[in-house]
């Protein structure tokens, strides 16, 4: 197994369409989806081989192994590596993560500290409140200090931790307007005026009066390749052809030019320590709730007992997921679904709580020459809290899940998961 880190530098605006059907403006994604990366690399390999129209499923060599086999390479989403640190934007080398759906920030001034009132997580506190039969309505302490509206709301963003500070990762976009020219009249043609929203190719790193310094936007994504030698070959291939790839739409008209560099990186192996840290935080918080609300009632007593027996862990969606249960779309990963994804038969597994929302996703499949079906997707950032009495059965399975993902079309980056995101340990009184 090889994990390849892709660094994608935008050399021209990127038109990564989000909403194809309807409307006169093509909205843009704020990141590069894995399906776009996968399609661009596959298309270039086929072009080089001159086999765009051949069926390679049976005997396609490296191409079939990467894209068509039962366990193909997994192209994860590439998220923007540009964040504001202090007063200036810069490219960071940190791991870019998706904030859990349970993260909240002040409505009055949302955002991480230094810019906003701070962000904190509510998963563990709301779980404890529910078990103690108390309502849970968090507020922002910083907003209370400032004497403004302390109410909080969900805060969705990409983030990373840089020098003990948290920062938001974003990409900016702009609107391009295009018109078709009528060849007879040499004026703009009827019904061919359209606007494309594109991701900007550059940002200002230094803004002092007239002296501006510019840098190109950088996105960082990962490819998981099951075979070591194939991973090596793919890394070399991408590096040898780093400036030929074009991503997104309108590539023949100046958009989508990128430079991609690939680097092999070690696989993350810290799942046990993440689970330990999460359970430790949960135990301490449970104790605080017990201290605050007196002797636990008989039911809670049983729960306190069982808390010691059980190992809790969260499943955080790191990308949108396509989930199906009994042939129907769903946004909740049920106990049965999770056991099926992980291939673990554990009767003690419990799903305690789920935070998820949905949206729709479509796209264009160059191989078919057709639009992809409009899928109902569970939004990235969704959180599912599980517990088990048989932790040892799960450690390898969870590691496999982080590698493979959950749900459908995982090879296109859908359904990427993270176990026990460290942000769940950021509580209200220490908002970051």
């Amino acid at each position: 197994m090889k994990r390849i880190e892709l660094t994608i530098t935008a050399l021209s605006p990127l038109a990564i369409g989000r909403q194809k059907p309807g409307g006169s403006i093509n909205e843009v994604e704020q990141y590069i989806p894995g399906s776009v990366l996968r399609g661009a690399i596959a298309k270039y390999i086929l072009h080089r081989a001159g086999m765009e129209l051949e069926n390679l499923a049976a005997n396609g060599g490296d191409f079939a192994e990467l894209f068509l086999e039962e366990n193909p390479a997994i192209f994860q989403n590439a998220y923007p590596a540009v964040a504001k640190v202090g007063s200036k934007y810069q490219i960071l080398n940190n791991t870019i993560k998706v904030l859990p759906a349970t993260a909240v920030s002040s409505k009055a001034n949302p955002g991480f500290l230094h810019k906003g009132h701070g962000v904190f997580d509510t998963l563990i506190d709301s779980f404890c409140a529910e078990q103690f039969n108390h309502p849970y309505d968090p507020s922002s302490l910083k907003a209370l200090e400032d004497g403004v509206d302390p109410r909080v709301e969900a805060y969705n963003s990409l983030y990373s931790k840089h020098d003990q500070h948290y920062c938001t990762h974003t990409a900016t976009s702009r609107l391009l307007t295009r018109v078709g020219i009528n060849r007879y009249r040499a004026t703009s043609s009827d019904d061919i005026l359209y606007s494309i929203e594109v991701l900007n190719e550059a940002f200002s790193t230094l803004n002092k009066g007239k002296n501006k310094e510019w840098s190109n936007y950088v996105y960082r994504g990962y490819v998981n390749v099951p075979d070591n030698s194939l991973g090596k070959k793919l890394t070399n291939f991408i590096n040898d052809n780093s400036e030929v790839f074009r991503l997104g739409g309108s590539v023949s008209r100046g958009l989508g030019k990128v430079k991609i560099t690939a680097k092999e990186i070690p696989l993350p192996d810290d799942i046990p320590s993440r689970i330990d840290a999460f359970n430790q935080a949960l135990q301490i918080r449970w104790q605080h709730w017990s201290d605050a609300f007196g002797e636990p009632n008989p039911m809670s007593n049983t729960l306190t007992e069982s808390l010691r027996d059980r190992t809790f862990f969260t499943l955080n969606l790191h990308s949108d997921a396509i989930l199906t249960e009994d042939w129907q779309r769903t946004t909740v990963i049920s106990r049965e679904m999770f056991k099926e994804f992980a291939v673990v038969e554990d009767p003690s597994l419990q799903l305690h709580t789920a935070y998820s929302s949905y949206s729709y996703s479509s796209g264009w499949n160059s191989a078919w020459g057709l639009m992809k079906d409009v899928e109902l997707v569970t939004n990235k950032g969704s959180v599912y809290l599980f517990s088990t009495q048989n932790r040892q059965m799960w450690e390898d399975a969870l590691s496999n899940l982080e590698w493979r993902g959950v749900g459908d079309r995982t090879s296109e980056g859908f359904g990427q998961v993270e176990i026990c995101n460290e942000f769940h340990q950021i509580f209200r009184e220490c908002a970051v």
């Binding site: 086929l46 005997n59 391009l176 295009r178 550059a202 940002f203 023949s252 008209r253 100046g254």
Partner: protein
């Protein structure tokens, strides 16, 4: 079988070309705001002046269409999608065979086989042409214009407008790349290069208000093809068809 370390080299050809603006350029950016001008100029994220790749590709296609039509080819009308995808009855019988591309249904004229159509992908990729001079070194130029009432010979009401242009007579250089990928049909002569090279030389002005003196330019580093290259003779439709029939007959 495809092996990544044994892929054949099918590197696309590419040419770096410069356009030198002799007058002032006015490529309007629709939907832009933050400028006093009624028609602001298009810029990239850094604020540098730009000629969009879409405009250069469109003008190149237009010139190629004119040249090819004059050389006797049947050309389908861009940019209307339905006209670019004709049915069998709309295609002249002599072109039906050579206007088909294996793997892509329908008929595709010689220009569509280079620039693409709703079914066929484009072989040519044109980058945005960017002005090498930084934004801060160029003054913002607003050119006022007014419409004259023909009867009174005075300014018409509500017809005063401001165009944003590049500085006049500054010989600004716009640099960009044009890429050409390998042809869909390797057995027939590739007309792309002679058509594109000739078409580039026929573009004298870009942007808006060309008839009033804006956007006139000359090219530098234009690619050339030697005059004794055999491909020139294939440009004539009659000659191409005659040669094509011979080769088809020979293959059969």
């Amino acid at each position: 079988m495809i092996y990544l370390n044994a892929l054949p080299q099918r590197v696309s050809e590419h040419w770096s070309v410069s356009a030198i603006i002799d007058t002032a350029l006015c490529v309007g950016a629709g939907g832009s705001s933050g400028s006093l001008a009624d028609k602001p100029i298009v810029r990239n994220a850094q604020g540098q002046l730009l000629i969009p790749g879409s405009q250069i590709k469109g003008r190149l296609r237009h010139e190629c269409e004119k040249l090819a039509r004059a050389l006797g080819w049947q050309i389908f009308y861009a940019p209307i999608a339905t006209e670019l995808c004709p049915n069998e009855g709309q295609v002249c019988s002599e072109f039906r065979e050579i206007y088909q591309v294996s793997g892509y249904k329908g008929y595709h004229c010689v220009v569509s086989q280079i620039f693409g159509d709703p079914i066929l992908p484009s072989r040519i990729i044109v980058d945005d042409f960017t002005c090498v001079t930084p934004k801060d070194e160029l003054l913002e130029v607003l050119r006022p214009g007014v419409t004259i009432n023909r009867r009174r010979r005075t300014a018409e009401e509500n017809k005063l407008y401001l165009l944003e242009t590049s500085p006049a007579n500054a010989q600004l250089e716009f640099k960009g790349d044009i890429y050409l990928q390998s042809p869909f049909q390797s057995h027939s002569p590739d007309l792309a290069k002679p058509l594109i090279f000739a078409a580039l030389r026929r573009i004298y002005a870009l942007g808006g208000s060309k008839s009033t003196g804006l956007g006139w330019l000359h090219w530098e580093n234009l690619p050339t093809l030697s005059s004794d290259d055999a491909i020139w003779s294939s440009l004539d439709a009659k000659q191409y068809l005659a040669n094509h029939q011979v080769s088809v007959g020979g293959a059969a």
